[in-house]
Symmetry: C2
Amino acid sequence: MDARIDQRRYETRARILKALAHPSRLKLIDKLSEREEVCVCDLTETIGCDMSTVSRHLAQLRAAGIVESEKRGQMVFYRLRVKCLQSLFGCIESVARSHVEEHLVVLS
Amino acid sequence: MDARIDQRRYETRARILKALAHPSRLKLIDKLSEREEVCVCDLTETIGCDMSTVSRHLAQLRAAGIVESEKRGQMVFYRLRVKCLQSLFGCIESVARSHVEEHLVVLS
DNA sequence: TGGCTATTTGCATGATTAGCCAAATATACA
DNA sequence: TGTATATTTGGCTAATCATGCAAATAGCCA
């Protein structure tokens, strides 16, 4: 009976992690963590691909609950709605570092 | 010049996050966090799909540096090589919770 | 109203992913 | 050596994803 709740929880987590799991979206998050809010045009410039692609990346982050948006005039501003991402990336980085070290050992 | 290093870092993070971003792999991690090590056959039973599929999921987690494996006899035992995943999931859960709350507000 | 800008959406395409079955590999054991 | 067990790998298919271009939408301003 708990099994279904667990299954649901795994699916929820996977959906959020999948939203994070793309280099461009991570870059967007990095940019957003530097300021209170950033418009799509500025984000497009930092990512360097088509604005329509950036818009879709942002839509994914929003659907996952990671960012929120507000339209003012013709522009749409996005901002992070999560505070714990830096520590999350800290964990990811520790995986990356130790994995690289292991590879170096293997290679040497 | 930093840009390339940054780009590399985003790609590394994305690769690790992508390895985490699947319900079955999250379930595998949960199972592994309960014990020191678990064999593929036991993991297959908890996941409930073909052993070949489980083996591939585990291979992905290993390639990302999240688990490691050791063969003893005919069996292969997997174990977590990362300690910070619970706090990482804590962050993910906080996203999930606040996003659900927002949806409830929208619905009401 | 008409034109201009910012953003999103429709559509098509190529790439990646998940899953299963069957076959290969490796180890144990009689 | 031959057989059984545990795991991985090859090959295939269906589904999902990323991307760009073009078109649609929405707001501003003359």
